[in-house]
C-alpha cells in the first residue's frame, strides 16, 4: 500500500482486520514499486470474500436530515457510501455532503486519541481512564452547574444525554444547530398555535413559491425535497408544476425557478400579505371557511403599498396571487437566505398566505409528534453570558462548534475560558474543541452504534461498518463510564453495560410502542438490515387558534443609512462550516459561482461598476460588528445593491483543509438575537476596495454560452405547440437532399467498415440520458464521481490553473439578466460523451484512447504516453491530465494523506503522473453487473441493473443509464424523446449522452 508514514496504523489495521495488503496494494493501483508489501490472508474471516464488497445499512449524520445509507465495505474497509433505497427520507439518494462523509471517517486530521490541554495551552495525549477520572472528580456530587451542548440529536443518545445530566442533577442541555428553524416555528406558533416546523408536501404541489428557502441545498431535508421537487416540477407526460423563487439572491435553489422575484431585502412579508389580500379580495381558489378572520388584518396590505415597499410592480403581485391559487400550491418560508430581523414576519405572512389559499392541511402538514426542537440562538447567548459570569462549572460539547457558528462579537470562546472544565467530544480539533481542556474523540458515525429520528415515524439505525480507525470511544459509552465511576445516583441511573445495550433497551421499548410481536432479535436484525423501522407519520389536524398573535406582522428589516444589504447564506457544500475539512467539498465548485476552496462576496455587475470593482478584487466589508476581507465575484443573480457571502469558511482550526481559508462571514453579524431568537443573517455593510487582487480558484471559463446551444431549454408552451424541435443552427446544418444521400451513403460505408472482429455489434451500446428539466445543479453527482473513481483533489493553486480532475462537472450558464431581460440560469452535467465517432480516439498515437466493442470510449492509462492530443481534440473538454504525481505518497502533491487513501476504490486504478484520464461510465460497475449476470446464467444485464455513481446518487433522478441497442430500455426511450439533443451535434461526434432540454414553465403573458 501507499507507504503510510505512521507505521502503527498499518500494523494495527492489518492485525485487527487480518486484511490483505492486496487490498491496500489495490489502493495505489498498478504502481508496482511497493508490491513486496503484499500480505496474504492468514486467517480469512468468514464474512470476508476478497474482492467482494459487503454492504451495511446505516444513517448519514452530516446534517440533521438523517438520510439512510448503504455503506460499501471492501476487505473490512468502507470505500463508498450510497443512499438506502428503502429509506423514506432519501430513497437511495445522497447529496454531495453525504457522499463526502467518508472523508470525515478517514480524515487525516481526526483526533487520534484522547487529549488534554497542558499548561502552555497545547494538547497532549491522555489515557481514557485518566480523562474519565478527571471528569468525575470535577463533577463530584451535587450540582456543579453543568451545561451540555450537542448538535441536533433526536434518538437514544438525545435521551441518554438528558438522563445523564439529570443523574448529575442538571438540566443544562442545549441543542445548537446554526441552521435551525426559529422563524417558521415562531410563525406556526403565532398563526396556527403550533410550536412545530411544518412539513411541506412539495410532491403534491404544482405551484411552489419559496420565500428565500433553499430547500435544495441545506434547508430541512434537501435530498428528500429535491426528489419531491422533481416530482412536482419535472415534466410528466406534458405537464409540470411552476416554481417561483422570492429572494434578493438567486440561490442554487433559485436557479431552478421558472421565475426569480428579487424584492427589496426585508420586505418579503409585504409581498406575502398583499398576495393573501388579493386572494381574499378576489375570492380566488378555495379558501377555508374561517379564512375571513384574516381579512381585517389584511386590509392595509393592499398590492399598491406592497409594490411600493418591495420594489415590485402591482401587476406582479396580483399575477403571483392568481397563479398561487390556480393549482395545488405551497409557499415556503424560514430559510436562512431570508432570515433577517423580520423573518418571523415573513414566515407569519407566508403561513397566512398558505392558510387563506387553503394549503394548510393539504400541502402544509404537521406531524402528530415533532421531535425535540433545537434550542434557539438566544439560548446560546444566555449560555455565553452564564459562562462569562462564571456560573458554569463544566461545559460538555458534542457535535457542535458554537465558536465558529456564532457571531464573533458574541465572544463564545472567551466566555468558555472562565469555565473550570470544558470537555469536547469532537472528532476534529475544531475551534470549540481547541478551547476545551479535554478532547475525548467520539467515533465517526460510521464506526458507532446509534439511532436517529429524522421525522416522526422514521426510526433509523446506525451500526459500525468497520473497526474504528483511531483510538476513539463512543461518547455514549464515555458518559456511561463517567456515571459508573461517579457511583451513587448517577451509577444507579443506568443499569447497562455499555451504550449498545442502552440502545437495544431503547429499541425494545420502541418495539413495544410499535406493537411488533416478533422476538426482539428478529426485529433488531430486520431493523439493522433495513437501516431502521419506517412508519408513515400521523398528521395532526390544524385549526386557527381562538386568538391570532399577529401583532409583529408589520415588522420589517431595512438597510441602515448608506450601507448595502449583506446576506450571509449557508454554503451548499460546506453547510454551516462542518464540511470545510473535506477536500472533496472544498474542491467541489460552488453550484452557483463555481468557485472552490475559498470565500467570496457576490455583487451585481452594476453594483461592481459603481464601486469600480472587478472579479477577484479584494474588498473589505465593514458592519457595525466587525469586518472581513473577501475577493469579489460578479453575479447577475443578486439584486443590485445587495451583497452575499457564503458561510462555512474562515476556520482558525479544524485541520489542514479548512484552516485559514477564506473568511467567516459570521464576524459581520449582530450578536444580538432577533425578535424570534435567532441569528439575523442580514446586515448592513459598507465596502472598501483594498486594491489587492486575487485570481479566484474557479472552474468556469465564460458564464455565457454564446448561443452555442450547449444547454438548451424550451418553454412549456412551445412544448405543447410542438414548436421546440427547431434544430439549433450549430447542430445539424441543413444540407441539400442529394448531399444528404451522399453523406448517408458514406456514413453507411464507414459503419460497415467498422464491423470487424470484436466490433460485429452483438454487444450492448452503453448510453446515458440526462433530463435537464430535473437537474438542479446540486453537484451530488460530482462528489459521487470523486468517491467512486479515485479522483484526486488538486488544491486551490492547481484549480486556478484549471487542472481540477473532476470527471463530471456541472456547467452553469446565464441567459438574459442584461438590459432588463429576466435572468435565467441553465445547468448541464458535462461528462465524457462516449462518442461513436470520438475525435479523441484517432489522434492518439498509441491507442491509449480507443473504442470498446460495447461503445465505451476507453482510456488505457498504462498505454498513455501523455501527448494530450486527445484533450485538444475533445470538443467537450472532458479529459483530465495528471500534471503531478497525485498518487505517490512521497510526492508533495499526494492527494490522499494517510489514512485518507483508505477510501480509495479497489476496483478502480489510481492514475499515475503524466497520463490522461476521464469518465469511464463507471466501467467497473458495468463489468461487475455483467459478471453477476454471467454467474446467474443470464444472457444480458437487465435494464437498470447497472447504475453509474452519478446516476445512483442523483437526488432528482435526472440521469438514466443503459443499453441503447435495447429498444425497450429506459435510456432508449429517453433518447427518443422529442426534447432530446446532443451537445455540439454539428460536429458529428455522435455522442452516447442524450440531453433532454430543460423546460421552463413561464407565466402566461
Amino acid at each position: 500500500m501507499a507507504e503510510s508514514p505512521n507505521g502503527m496504523n498499518r500494523r494495527r489495521f492489518l492485525t485487527v482486520l487480518g486484511v490483505t495488503g492486496g487490498g491496500t496494494a489495490a489502493l495505489t493501483g498498478c504502481s508496482s514499486d511497493e508490491v513486496e508489501k503484499l500480505i496474504p490472508y492468514l486467517v480469512p474471516p468468514d464474512n470476508q470474500i476478497p474482492g467482494i464488497a459487503t454492504w451495511y445499512a446505516s444513517t448519514c449524520r452530516e446534517c440533521p436530515a438523517g438520510c439512510g445509507l448503504h455503506v460499501r465495505v471492501r476487505e473490512g474497509r468502507a470505500v463508498k457510501v450510497e443512499g438506502n433505497p428503502n429509506h423514506p427520507v432519501n430513497a437511495g439518494r445522497l447529496c454531495a455532503r453525504g457522499q463526502a462523509s467518508l472523508q470525515g471517517l478517514y480524515n487525516p486530521d481526526r483526533v487520534r486519541g484522547p487529549l488534554q490541554r497542558t499548561a502552555d495551552g497545547s494538547f497532549e495525549p491522555i489515557a481514557w481512564d485518566d480523562a474519565i477520572a478527571r471528569i468525575t472528580d470535577t463533577l463530584g456530587p451535587g450540582d456543579p452547574n453543568i451545561r451540555f451542548v450537542t448538535g441536533y440529536e433526536s434518538g437514544t443518545f438525545d435521551r441518554l444525554v438528558d438522563g445523564w445530566l439529570a443523574a448529575f442533577g442538571s438540566t443544562g442541555r442545549l441543542v445548537v444547530e446554526p441552521l435551525a428553524h426559529e422563524a417558521v416555528r415562531h410563525a406556526s406558533r403565532a398563526v396556527l398555535g403550533i410550536d412545530a416546523v411544518p412539513q411541506y408536501d412539495l410532491a403534491a404541489s404544482r405551484y411552489i413559491l419559496s420565500f428565500g428557502v433553499d430547500f435544495l441545498e441545506t434547508w430541512g431535508s434537501p435530498v428528500h425535497q429535491a426528489r419531491a421537487f422533481a416530482a412536482a416540477h419535472g415534466l410528466h407526460d406534458g405537464h409540470m408544476g411552476r416554481y417561483v423563487h422570492v429572494e434578493p439572491r438567486m440561490s442554487l435553489t433559485g436557479m431552478s425557478a421558472d421565475e426569480w422575484v428579487a424584492p427589496v431585502p426585508g420586505s418579503e412579508a409585504q409581498l406575502a400579505l398583499a398576495m393573501a389580500h388579493v386572494v381574499l379580495r378576489d375570492g380566488l381558489g378555495t379558501p377555508p371557511a374561517d379564512a375571513g378572520r384574516f381579512s381585517r388584518l389584511l386590509e392595509r396590505a393592499d398590492p399598491a403599498s406592497a409594490a411600493e415597499r418591495t420594489g415590485l410592480s402591482v401587476e406582479t403581485v396580483e399575477r403571483l396571487a392568481r397563479e398561487f391559487t390556480t393549482a395545488p400550491s405551497v409557499a415556503l418560508a424560514g430559510g436562512l437566505g431570508a432570515q433577517h430581523d423580520a423573518a418571523h414576519a415573513t414566515a407569519s405572512a407566508v403561513a397566512i398566505l398558505n392558510y387563506v389559499a387553503g394549503n394548510v392541511g393539504r400541502t402544509v402538514l404537521f406531524d402528530d409528534e415533532s421531535p425535540r426542537p433545537a434550542s434557539a440562538y438566544e439560548d446560546v447567548v444566555r449560555l455565553t453570558e452564564a459562562m462569562r459570569s462564571g456560573e458554569i462549572g463544566a461545559l460538555f460539547v458534542h457535535g457542535a462548534n458554537p465558536v465558529h457558528t456564532t457571531p464573533g462579537t458574541l465572544g463564545f470562546a472567551d466566555a468558555m475560558a472562565s469555565v473550570p472544565l470544558k470537555v469536547s467530544f469532537a472528532r476534529f480539533l475544531d475551534e470549540t474543541a481547541a478551547a476545551c481542556d479535554l478532547v475525548l474523540p467520539d467515533h465517526d458515525p460510521l464506526e458507532q452504534w446509534n439511532d436517529y429520528v429524522p421525522r416522526s415515524g422514521t426510526h433509523a439505525l446506525q451500526q459500525p461498518v468497520m473497526r474504528p480507525v483511531f483510538d476513539t470511544r463512543q461518547t455514549g459509552d464515555v458518559l456511561l463510564q463517567v456515571a459508573a465511576r461517579a457511583g451513587g445516583a448517577a451509577a444507579s441511573a443506568f443499569e447497562v453495560a455499555d451504550y449498545k445495550a442502552y440502545l437495544e433497551a431503547a429499541w425494545r421499548e420502541l418495539q413495544r410502542r410499535l406493537g411488533d410481536r416478533r422476538p426482539f432479535e428478529q426485529f433488531w436484525m430486520d431493523a439493522l438490515q433495513a437501516g431502521g423501522v419506517y412508519r408513515d407519520p400521523a398528521v395532526r389536524a390544524v385549526s386557527l387558534p381562538a386568538e391570532l398573535v399577529t401583532d409583529d406582522l408589520a415588522d420589517s428589516w431595512t438597510v441602515a443609512g448608506e450601507g448595502l444589504a449583506l446576506i450571509a447564506y449557508p454554503s451548499p457544500a460546506l453547510y454551516d462550516g462542518r464540511g470545510a475539512n473535506r477536500p472533496w467539498l472544498q474542491e467541489l465548485p460552488d453550484p452557483v459561482t463555481k468557485v472552490t476552496w475559498s470565500s467570496w462576496v457576490e455583487l451585481h455587475p452594476e453594483t461592481a461598476t459603481e464601486h469600480g470593482i472587478a472579479e477577484g478584487d479584494v474588498v473589505e466589508l465593514h458592519s457595525a460588528y466587525g469586518s472581513i476581507r473577501v475577493p469579489a465575484y460578479l453575479y447577475p443573480g443578486v439584486r443590485p445593491g445587495t451583497l452575499a457571502v457564503p458561510m462555512g469558511q474562515g476556520h482558525t482550526g479544524f485541520g489542514r483543509y479548512a484552516e485559514g481559508r477564506g473568511a467567516n462571514v459570521l464576524a459581520l453579524l449582530s450578536p444580538q438575537p432577533t425578535a424570534f431568537g435567532a441569528i439575523g443573517t442580514y446586515v448592513s455593510v459598507t465596502l472598501r476596495v483594498t486594491g489587492e487582487h486575487v485570481f479566484l480558484p474557479k472552474t468556469e471559463g465564460k458564464p455565457r454560452q454564446m448561443d452555442r446551444g450547449i444547454a438548451q431549454a424550451v418553454t412549456l408552451a412551445e412544448l405543447e405547440h410542438g414548436g421546440h424541435d427547431d434544430h439549433h443552427a450549430l447542430h445539424a446544418a441543413p444540407v441539400p437532399e442529394h448531399i444528404e444521400e451522399i453523406l448517408d451513403h458514406w456514413q453507411e460505408q464507414q459503419d460497415d467498415a467498422t464491423r470487424y472482429g470484436n466490433y460485429e455489434g452483438e454487444h450492448p451500446r452503453w448510453a446515458m440520458a440526462i433530463d435537464l428539466s430535473r437537474c438542479t445543479g446540486c453537484s451530488a453527482c460530482v462528489a459521487a464521481c470523486y468517491a467512486e473513481n479515485n479522483i484526486p483533489t488538486v488544491g486551490a493553486e492547481q484549480v486556478r490553473r484549471g487542472r481540477e480532475m473532476s470527471w463530471m462537472r456541472i456547467e452553469r450558464y446565464f441567459e438574459g439578466g442584461e438590459h432588463g431581460e429576466p435572468l435565467e440560469t441553465r445547468v448541464l452535467p458535462m461528462l465524457c460523451q462516449h462518442c461513436s465517432s470520438a475525435p479523441c480516439e484517432p489522434v492518439c498515437p498509441v491507442f491509449a484512447a480507443y473504442h470498446t466493442p460495447d461503445g465505451l470510449n476507453g482510456q488505457i492509462y498504462n498505454r498513455c504516453v501523455g501527448t494530450r492530443y486527445c484533450s485538444n481534440n475533445c470538443p467537450y473538454k472532458v479529459r483530465y491530465f495528471n500534471y503531478f504525481d497525485y498518487q505517490h505518497p512521497a510526492d508533495p502533491s499526494f492527494a490522499w494523506p494517510d489514512p485518507l487513501h483508505w477510501l480509495l476504490n479497489p476496483d478502480v486504478t489510481v492514475r499515475a503522473k503524466g497520463v490522461m484520464e476521464k469518465c469511464t461510465f463507471c466501467v467497473q460497475r458495468i463489468r461487475e453487473a455483467q459478471h453477476t449476470a454471467t454467474l446467474e446464467g443470464r444472457e444480458r444485464v437487465a435494464d437498470g441493473e447497472i447504475r453509474t455513481a452519478c446516476q445512483q446518487t442523483c437526488p432528482s433522478e435526472a440521469i438514466v443509464f443503459g443499453d441503447l441497442n435495447d429498444p425497450g430500455s429506459r435510456v432508449s426511450r429517453a433518447a427518443a424523446d422529442g426534447r432530446g439533443y446532443h451537445v455540439l451535434e454539428g460536429l458529428n461526434t455522435r455522442p452516447a449522452v442524450t440531453y433532454l432540454k430543460k423546460v421552463r414553465n413561464l407565466a402566461e403573458a
Partner: protein, 168 residues
C-alpha cells in the same frame, strides 16, 4: 585493395589539355586509366565517355520498396490487432499514404547512398595519387609496366601535361 600497380602519373593544369590526353589515350587503346579532377567536369567526363551511372536504378528500386513496405506495414499492423478509433475503418488507406510516402523517400535516399558506395567501390582503381588533384590540378594515371612506359610518357607530355612521372 590490391597492391598499387606501377604506372605513369601525369598532372595537368589545363582542362582542355587533360581532355585531349584522355582522348588520345583512348585512341591508343588504353582503357584502364584513371582521371582525377578536383570538381566534376563535363569535358573530361565526355572525353572518358562513361555511360550514365546505374545509381539511379538503386533510387528507383529503393523508392518502390519503400512505398510498398509503407502500405504493407501500416495495413498489416492495423489488422494484427484490430482496434476501432473514431468510428473509422481499421485499415484506412488514406492516412497511410503519408507513411508510405515518407518511407518512399527514406528508402529511396538510403538506397541511392548505398548505390553510390557500392558502385564507387566496385569501379575503384588502385594507382598513384597526388593531393593537388583535390586542389587545382587534373591527374591522369595510366597503369603500365616499367618496360612499356616511354610511349605513354611521350603521349601525355605531348598532350601538355605539366609533369609526368613513373610511379612504381
Amino acid at each position: 585493395m590490391s597492391a598499387q600497380p606501377s604506372g605513369i602519373l601525369a598532372s595537368f593544369r589545363f582542362v582542355d589539355a587533360a581532355a585531349d590526353a584522355v582522348r588520345r589515350l583512348k585512341d591508343e587503346g588504353y582503357r584502364d586509366f584513371t582521371v582525377y579532377t578536383p570538381v566534376p567536369n563535363v569535358e573530361i567526363a565526355r572525353a572518358v565517355g562513361h555511360r550514365a551511372s546505374p545509381v539511379r536504378l538503386w533510387t528507383l528500386i529503393g523508392g518502390l520498396t519503400g512505398c510498398a513496405s509503407g502500405f504493407a506495414l501500416t495495413l498489416w499492423m492495423s489488422y494484427d490487432w484490430p482496434i476501432i478509433v473514431g468510428g473509422k475503418p481499421i485499415g484506412s488507406v488514406i492516412p497511410y499514404v503519408v507513411i508510405a510516402f515518407e518511407l518512399t523517400i527514406l528508402f529511396g535516399a538510403s538506397a541511392t547512398i548505398l548505390g553510390l558506395l557500392y558502385h564507387s567501390w566496385k569501379t575503384r582503381q588502385a594507382g598513384a595519387y597526388d593531393n593537388r588533384f583535390a586542389d587545382d590540378h587534373i591527374g591522369i594515371f595510366v597503369p603500365c609496366p616499367p618496360e612499356r612506359r616511354e610511349p605513354v610518357q611521350a603521349l601525355l607530355q605531348d598532350a601538355g601535361a605539366e609533369e609526368v612521372q613513373f610511379a612504381a
